[in-house]
Symmetry: C2
Subunit: 375 residues, 2 copies
C-alpha cells in the first residue's frame, strides 16, 4: 500500500508511538487526578509533562494547553464558547475546514453574526491586505479564523500578516494548526487560540487533540461534567485548562502525543515534506492531462497537493489508484466548502488530494506518477 492520505490522518505512526500507546493502555489508563493512589498520580504527572512539551514547541506556558478529544471538538469548544453577539462579524479564510465553518454557521442560526471570507489574490494566493483593511474598517472583526496549512492545497497561509492587522481591532485570532503542529510550528504572536490534532502532523493516535488558550480568555462552557474536583459545585472551574476538560481525560492518547513529540524532536519532517512536495509538483507538471492547484510561489505549499486529471472525475482517479495500484489518496471536497470556488474546482466535484508524511519516499511519488501516466 502506498499511503498518500496523510492529511486525513498520518500513517504509519512511528514504531515508538505504537509501543508507547500499548504501554500507556497497560500502565497509564487511570483516571488522572481522581485518585490518591500512585497509578493515578503517575498518570496525572505524565499528562502534565505532555502539556509542558506541547507548550515548549511554541515557547508558551503549559497552563495554556487544554486537551480535547479531537481538533473538531476543540474548535466547537472555542467557537461556541466565544459567545458572539448579534451584529458581530467573523472573518474566515477561504481555506477553512468544516470544523470551523459548520460551527460558525450553527452560531449564525442563533445569533445574527456575519461570516465574511477574507480576500485572497487568486493568482498569488496572497492576502489582499488593502481589501482586508477596507473590510475590517466597515465591519470590525470580532474573530478571525485562519488555517496554518490548508488541508486541500497544502498552502501555508500568511496568518501573521492577517492577525497583525486584525489584532489592532482586538479580534480573537484563531489559528487552526491541525495540519501543521509538530511539523511546522507557528509563531504565537498575535494569536489567541491555536488548535492541534494529535493524529495528524503530531504523528500520534486518534483521541487526543486540543487548543492553546494563549491569552487566557475565559470561554463560555460548552461541555461540562465531572472534573474530579469540587463535585458539589454545579459549574465547571472558573478558569484554567480544567474548565474545558470535562470527563475522563484520554491519558493513553496523551501518552501517544508525548512519545510522538520525543520522536519528532530534532527530526526535520518539514524539510522532508518540502522536498517531496517540490518533487511531486515537478513530476506532475510534466503530465499534460494533470492540472495542479497551486499558488504562484510553490515553495509556499507543503505536504499536500491537489490536482485533477482531464477526462476523469476525482472519484474515478481515486478508485483507479486504489484498485489498480494500491495507492491511497482522497478525492472530493475534503470537508472544505469555500476553497473550491477559490481554486476553481467546484465544477469538477473537488480534487484529487495527494498528502505526504514522514514515511513517504520519492519512490512512492514515482509510483503515483507512473500510475497517473496511464490515464
Amino acid at each position: 500500500m502506498i499511503y498518500l492520505d496523510n492529511a486525513a490522518t498520518t500513517y504509519p505512526k512511528p514504531e515508538e508511538v505504537y509501543r508507547a500507546l500499548d504501554k500507556a493502555n497497560r500502565e497509564f489508563a487511570f483516571n488522572a487526578g481522581r485518585g490518591s493512589y500512585l497509578a493515578a498520580k503517575n498518570t496525572f504527572n505524565m499528562i502534565q509533562q505532555t502539556r509542558q512539551s506541547l507548550a515548549d514547541l511554541i515557547h508558551v506556558s503549559p497552563d495554556t494547553v487544554s486537551f480535547e478529544s479531537s481538533a473538531t471538538e476543540a474548535l466547537n469548544v472555542i467557537i461556541h464558547g466565544l459567545d458572539f453577539k448579534d451584529g458581530d462579524t467573523v472573518y474566515i479564510s477561504p481555506f477553512e475546514h468544516n470544523a470551523v465553518v459548520r460551527p460558525l454557521y450553527y452560531v449564525k442560526e442563533e445569533r445574527k453574526i456575519n461570516i465574511e471570507i477574507l480576500p485572497f489574490n487568486k493568482v498569488t494566493w496572497d492576502i489582499d491586505t488593502e481589501k482586508m483593511c477596507d473590510m475590517f474598517a466597515i465591519h470590525k472583526p470580532a474573530a478571525v479564523f485562519v488555517s496554518h496549512i490548508s488541508n486541500v492545497t497544502g498552502y501555508i497561509l500568511p496568518y501573521q500578516e492577517i492577525f497583525g492587522i486584525s489584532s489592532m481591532y482586538s479580534a480573537v485570532n484563531v489559528l487552526d494548526c491541525s495540519q501543521s503542529l509538530g511539523v511546522l510550528n507557528p509563531n504565537p504572536e498575535n494569536v489567541d487560540f491555536i488548535i492541534f490534532a494529535g493524529h495528524k502532523s503530531l504523528y500520534s493516535s486518534f483521541g487526543a487533540a486540543g487548543f492553546y488558550n494563549l491569552k487566557n480568555r475565559i470561554l463560555k462552557v460548552i461541555k461540562s461534567g465531572g472534573t474530579g474536583s469540587d463535585s458539589l459545585n454545579h459549574s465547571m472551574p472558573e478558569k484554567g485548562s480544567q474548565r474545558y476538560e470535562a470527563g475522563s481525560i484520554n491519558s493513553v492518547a496523551i501518552a501517544g502525543i508525548k512519545s510522538a513529540l520525543e520522536w519528532l524532536y530534532n527530526k526535520d519532517i518539514k524539510q522532508h515534506e518540502a522536498a517531496l512536495t517540490a518533487y511531486v509538483i515537478t513530476e506532475l507538471r510534466k503530465h499534460d492531462k494533470v492540472h495542479l492547484y497551486l499558488p504562484e510561489d510553490t515553495s509556499r505549499v507543503i505536504g499536500i497537493v491537489s490536482m485533477n486529471v482531464e477526462g476523469y472525475s476525482p472519484a474515478d482517479v481515486g478508485t483507479i489508484l486504489a484498485e489498480d495500484y494500491d495507492i491511497c489518496v482522497r478525492t472530493g471536497y475534503h470537508c472544505s466548502p469555500f476553497v473550491h470556488k477559490f481554486i476553481g474546482s467546484l465544477d469538477s466535484m473537488g480534487t484529487v488530494r495527494i498528502s505526504m508524511g514522514a514515511f513517504n519516499t520519492k519512490e512512492d511519488i514515482d509510483k503515483l506518477v507512473a500510475a497517473l501516466s496511464t490515464l
Copy 2:
C-alpha cells in the same frame, strides 16, 4: 497493586483488548468513510460491525448507535441537543453524576427550566411512586435522567418503574449506563436514550463511548464539523448517527470495544461482581468502625460499595490504603453532588468507594478488610 477503583475506569483490561487496540492502531487507524481505498473501507466496516454488536446487546437496530469520545460528551450532546423550553421541568434521580447535573445547570442558566430530584425512600431506596406521580401531575416531566447503576453506591436503580410512568407524559427518558453496559444490560423499553462508556463496564479503552437514540429523536446539533460527506453543506446531516459524529471518528477505541464485546460474550461478570459485592458487604459489616451506605435489600447493589470509617476522613482512608497497603480506592464526592445528602455523607466529606471489576478476587477483598481492620 490491588485495584478497587473500577468505577473510575476498569483495570486491567482483558489481554485480548490490549492486543486489539495495538493491532487497531496499526491496521484500523484510518479515516473511515473518507477514502475510497481498502484500508479506509475496512475501518468503516469494522466500525459498523461494532455498532451492530452494541445494538445486539440490547436487541435494537444498529442505526440507533452514535459514537462519541466519552459518556460525558454523549450526555452533553443529548442534554444541550434536547433544546428545552422555558418552563420545562427535568427530573433527575439523586444518584446522578455531574456529567448529567452540570450540563443541566448550564441549560438552566440560559432557559428557565426547573430541575427536580426524584423522590426515593431513604431506607429502602425505592422510588416513592406516589410522590413522584404527584410531582409529575404538578410539573409534567419534559425529560427524566436516571443512572442504571449509581457510581457512588452501586445501587441498581428502578428505572423501568420510573420510565413506565414518565413515558405516560411523553417525557424523554435518558438512562445513563456508564457503569453497567456490557456487565448488566438494560431493557430499552420506554427508554429514549441510553449512554455507554467504553472504558468502564465495557472493558475497553478511553476514547470511545456514545449513545443509543432508541426513538430516533432529532437532536439540535451541538458539535459540528467534517463528516466526510456533503462537504459543501454548512449543516450536519439531518438525521442518522452521522449527525452526531463530527470529526475523525476514533476507530481504534471502537475496535477496542469490538474486541471487549467478544471477550464479554458468554462471560458472567455480573455474577462475579454480585458475589464479590455480597462478600465485601458481609466482611465489612463485621467491622465496628465501618459504616456502609446501603439500601435495605443489599442484593440491589452491584460492583460498588461506599463506606466511611469512624474517626477518619475519606481522604485519610484513601491515603492510608494507597501508601501502606497499595490498595487503590477513590474517596470524596465522586462527581455526584446530590447522592451525599440522600445517603448522609455530606458532612463526612463524601465516602470511600470500593469498586470491583472482572479481575478482582476474594483475596483482594480480604486484603482490603485486613487493612481496614488496622484502623
